[in-house]
Amino acid sequence: MSHALDAPAPSVVTKLQMPALIVGGIGLVAGVIGAVLNFQAFLHAYLVAFSFWNGISLGMMLILMIQYLSGGGWGIILRRTLEAGTRNMWLMAVLFLPILAGTVMNKLYIWTDHAKVEADHHLHQKAPYLNIPFFSVRLVIYFIVWLTFAFLLNRWSLQQDQSADKKLARNLRNLSGPGLLIMAITLTFSNIDWLMSLQPHWFSSMYPLINIVGNLLAAMCFGVIFVALMSDHAPFKGLIQTRHFRDMGNLMLAFVMLWTYTSLSQLLITYSGNLPEETPWYMNRITGGWGYVAVLLLTCHFVLPFIVLLQRRVKDPGKPLIWIGTFIIAMRVVDLFWWIKPSFDAGQGLAAAYKLSTFNVHWLDIVLPLAMGGIWTWCFIWQLKKRPLVPQHDPNMKEAFAHGGH
């Protein structure tokens, strides 16, 4: 424990802050121009970007809770990176505003259109849930819950650094158990509200679970990328061991497999059922050019990462995980794009059978995820610099970093 545990964030990370801000700033300007030119196209791209970056913050919160319950050195090493990500939760609350505006202005979801709701039996039936006031109430509840968890997790962890009070470790564990349950419920309903209701005739109980797994995967990759970048510098140098990277690589592998398991199950069950409410969702995503994206996801979101992450020589040194993590994150954006984009030019309800989506990309679809990523990453590094990179006084500390054992 002779390492300088309170060393500041190394330059390998802090030097990324300025480029992130530049990307974010240019992207923001481009985004505003795009919004003025074509608000609807802006919203469509914005929803992908928001779902992705919000998912990273939420996924980090989930992993933070999981590691308090499971223990293990990987969790202690990742903890400050994850905490910095969850402190971006307020940013996501602010960044939700354009989506709320799009909803209120009836530009994003068809269930906000009164005439359409009245004319459609299914939409009319769902109106008690899918309406703007209730949507807004739920939205406020989600963010209050998420911000509260982020606040408590960060506050107690910082207090633990300062006071070494044993009670705090217990508090954090006691929060994490019920916390995960509440997170699962809020994530499920926010997914139904924000993504599933884009095609409100369609429903799939697996969909929110795929999204949760995707968030976990992307957040894990993001965290591992930063830890691997900093691993040669104080305070991580000498502290991180091969087995920590192996654990992190195995977790990435596990989430890749879970993503495949949940996605494949949804496809198989929908395919076998062949019901008019469900099948158009896939029809829109495997025809009209979208099939190539689906094949890309199969090969690059599953097959390639799966094969690569099985190799110890990739996991053990840690550094290769930077490249694999970046690759998986890119695929996660493609996955969200494939989920969201075809919803907009596809026929809804009775029209679903004869009006299928064709592949299309708007320049904002590429600019906005990068722009939001720039702003998110800038804030993230700013938060990361605020605290020592290794938490102190964790009761599992000694065990996790003992040489040889576990």
Partner: protein, 468 residues
Amino acid sequence: MAAQNDQDKSMGTKSLVPIIGPGHTFASVNDKISAIVLLRGTSFGWVVGFGIAFMIFMMMLMSISYLLFRGVGIWGINNRVDWGFDIINFVWWIGIGHAGTLISAILLLLHQKWRTSINRFAEAMTLFAVACAGLFPVLHLGRPWYAYFLFPYPNTLGMYFPQFRSPLEWDVFAVSTYASVSLVFWYVGLIPDLATLRDRAKSWIPKTIYGIFSLGWRGSARHWHRYETIYLLLAGLSTPLVLSVHSIISFDFSVSLLPGWHATFFPPYFVAGAVFAGFAMVMTLAIPVRWVYGLEDFITDKHLENMGKITLVTGNIVFYSYLMELFYGWYSANEYEQFMVHNRLFGPYGYMLWALYFCNGVMPQFLWSKKIRTNSIWLFVISMFISVGMWLERYVIIVVSLHRTFLPSAWGTYSGTFWDWSLYIGTMGFFLTLLFLFIRLLPMISISEMQMLLPEAQVPHKEEAHEA
């Protein structure tokens, strides 16, 4: 020793309850576990217990005989509800087996050392549960002597390929793979212990029998090296089985169109339910066994607490699924789905649903309390509730969805007959008979793995061989 103490201290509150009692040595672990098989002899209590179990097992054989004589008409199934007790019990038993696989495979890969004292027992339970489960679909065929039609074998009937598009066919492969991998895993783990029994047995009969089954194990370094390698490989092979078996069983329902069956989240929902039921059964059996044989040093309160935690987690996943079933039933805006929800809640079998929510939704919530998680009586009671709840869950899913489907003129009701119950209860006798024999004839706790937990066995970097 000092290193171990140091480690214990550093773990803080977590290791206050250790995973092996204090003061044990290699010899005392050997003595204590092997004595149950070799020295204690056949106790009166064991004979009584075995006798009762065996009589119930005979009831199963009688039920099967009568079934073969008369046909499936003696069951309660009818034209409307054509899947009844047979499939409910099949899913129930298969689910129970899952704890064994999870403990032996996934917890091994996750370096959870506490699994050691319960894995042998749980794996045996898996095998016996799969044996019970396998009976039901075969008997449900009506002509079980044609069960081999399910396998793709070269024949003159032009049936090289059975209906591969049916998940019932996938079950054949999933369950038989599961049974064979579990058997091999269990047996490989037993080999060093069988050799111990061989060496310690006094009379020539057990010496010969244990000798044959220990395959010439001498405990050389080469033997151990190969043993560790194959054990890790089998753990890797078993891990997907935890997910695949119950996922495929869930496909039996979810690939159909029936409201209450066709839901995309069925696979993880069923897997969580299976692990939930499995851990409840492990606790139901381990708590009395540890009490009867005085094994509190090996199956400690820490074990019970950890099992309680896994039960709580999986129980909440299952409860989430119940609530989501209700929500999506409504959100679908499909009148059949909505009717299914209404019929479940308030239909003729409504009381079963509420009982199910109580058993699987309310009772596990007590496990949030550490006091209850470390109290074996509480755990035993909660486990019993869960076992009943998981049976009710399958009853609700299968019967309640089938009895009122799309066409009201085709509605009907269902209830199990005497022969349904006698076969179901009979399989419990079958299960317990096998379990009694297992406890009497084989070491129910892994001797060699328990010895590895001792401070003397803690060689630096020893664990490297374990890591995936």
